[in-house]
């Protein structure tokens, strides 16, 4: 086989691609938090997100 390294590299990349597509991987990295209580349903205004960075150019308003 010509170019064994390149072909293997390409094949692995394609396999990775297929796996990623099957598992639904995307580049986005939302903050994942466990065990949010049900009380958020009743009082959505009291919910405080767990990330600290700013997204986009919007302002993050905390508190009241």
């Amino acid at each position: 086989m010509k170019h064994p390294i390149y072909t293997t590299f390409g094949a692995l990349l394609i396999v990775l691609l297929v796996v990623a597509e099957l598992r639904g991987w995307t580049p986005m990295r939302p903050t994942e938090v466990k065990n949010i209580p049900r009380s958020i349903r009743d009082n959505p205004g009291a919910y405080r997100p767990h990330y600290r960075t700013f997204f986009g150019s919007g302002h993050y308003m905390r508190g009241k």
Binding site: K2, H3, Y6, T7, F9, G10, L13, I14, L17, V18, A20, E21, L22, R23, G24, W25, T26, P27, M28, R29, P30, T31, E32, V33, K34, N35, I36, P37, R38, I40, R41, P44, G45, A46, Y47, P49, H50, Y51, F55, G56, S57, G58, H59, Y60, M61, G63, K64
Partner: protein
């Protein structure tokens, strides 16, 4: 009966012993001691030229050494140093004359560590011109004109089947089709064509059993075989194979992605300026079913010269696992001296990775700064949507190796033709 391989002669200038290896084929022979060039056909060996070379050179293949090339035995019987002058600089190369009584003569040339195996060919090949550059078609190969120069003989040693003199000149034209080179040599008396094949120095060293390692070749020689061009070509073909596979995968994905809408608010209003916490709300619960797949959250807001920011938390009702993310939408437009302009987009698309099946709801906190007193927006959540990014990323990554090799090939060709008559003229002419 066995015929002697050499004839022993005496130099008329200095009396040193001379061995003639090619016997009746030699026309000139150089005395190894005093450097006089003698007429080998004359029984008295009259002097054709006294030693007048400006310096002495030492052949890398000592005369008399025998080597095996292509299964045939050859003996080095003559050595010449010739050179050309280009832009005031002299470039010298070695020429070795090899002899085998059953095969005749052959040549080896050496320049800057690059070796060539050369044979005289009988007929003058047909020459053509393309775009002002001459070329020759021979044996199915296209030989491109590389250089025309006047070669001068600077030094000779050994014997030759022609009358050689230091100071002899010939107009040479080289045509290349790597690894081969066709050379024409023109003197007023005759024109000779020869065909050379590039030979790695290591092969010469092992053929002649020379000691040590051959000196490193510098730069790229006129007919040095292309190491990278064929590689670039075949890698490009391999890349196209990958492209075909990836396109097939894209098509497959486009067909099999379910794009199922699991939740949508068709149109919601909100009044900007109200206290923040009071604006937060949760959506009704919706089902995400099927295998773990991506989840797309599209936010569309009718912002006109303003922005809107949505703080999302996607909560799995059963496990409590929550995905927090914030998305912004902004759109500005106007008119200036160049015409209409616009910036931003009223639509944002976020694709969450690997969301397992389950019951979910969204907690949303919208925020906006818009000129109007209300904002219309909609949120659509879909699962298992196709995205192009990973495929494009793979295509880009896989393109790198062939591109790198192609750059290498291009670099080598550049270096090769830099030495030719067709070198692109540089503004600053430095000598490398």
């Amino acid at each position: 009966m066995s015929a002697p391989a050499v004839a022993s002669l005496t130099c008329p200038q200095c009396g040193a012993a001379i061995e003639l290896r090619t016997l009746d084929q030699a026309l000139s022979v150089v005395c190894g001691s005093c450097g006089s060039i003698l007429d080998a056909r004359d029984p008295n060996l009259h002097v054709l030229q006294e030693f007048k070379a400006r310096q002495k050179f030492e052949p890398q293949i000592p005369l008399g050494t025998r080597g095996t090339l292509k299964g045939e035995k050859w003996e080095a019987v003559g050595y010449q140093v010739r050179g050309i002058v280009v832009d005031g600089t002299t470039y010298c190369w070695d020429e070795y004359l090899l002899f085998n009584p059953y095969k005749g003569f052959r040549y080896l040339t050496q320049y800057d560590g690059h070796w060539n195996d050369v044979q005289v060919i009988k007929a003058a090949p047909d020459e053509h011109t393309s775009g002002g550059r001459p070329y020759i078609l021979l044996h199915g190969e296209t030989f491109k004109h590389f250089q025309t120069a006047t070669a001068e003989t600077y030094f000779v040693l050994g014997e030759f089947p022609w009358q050689v003199r230091v100071g002899d000149t010939a107009v040479t034209r080289d045509f290349v089709a790597p690894p081969r080179m066709l050379s024409e040599e023109r003197t007023p008396e005759e024109t000779t064509w020869s065909l050379g094949t590039y030979m790695p120095a290591a092969q010469i060293w092992s053929a002649f059993g020379l000691p040590g390692k051959p000196p490193h070749a510098r730069g790229v020689y006129a007919n040095q075989p292309d190491a990278y061009m064929p590689l670039a070509g075949s890698m490009a073909k391999r890349y196209l194979l990958f492209v075909a596979v990836i396109i097939a995968l894209i098509l497959l994905r486009l067909v099999t992605a379910s794009r199922e809408t699991v939740f949508a608010t068709n149109s919601a209003f909100f009044r900007p300026g109200a206290p923040a916490d009071s604006l937060a709300f949760v959506t009704p619960s919706f089902t995400v079913s099927g295998r773990t797949a991506n989840l797309e959250v599209t936010t569309e807001a009718q912002v006109d010269n303003g922005w809107a920011y949505f703080e999302y938390a996607l909560v799995n009702e059963a496990t409590g696992t929550t995905y927090e993310f914030g998305r912004e939408v902004s759109y500005y437009y106007g008119r200036d001296s160049d015409g209409n302009w616009s910036e931003g987009s009223r639509r944002d698309r976020a694709v969450l990775p690997s969301v397992p099946a389950g019951q979910y709801f969204l907690r949303v906190l919208p925020e906006a700064e818009v000129p109007t007193s209300f904002l219309e927006y909609r949120i659509v959540v879909r699962r298992d949507v196709p995205t192009l990014t990973p495929y494009l990323f793979c295509l880009a990554l896989l393109a790198l190796p062939p591109i790198l090799v192609a750059l290498r090939a291009w670099g080598m060709e550049s270096a090769r033709w830099k030495e030719s008559d067709y070198a692109p003229s540089s503004d600053d002419d430095d000598d490398e």
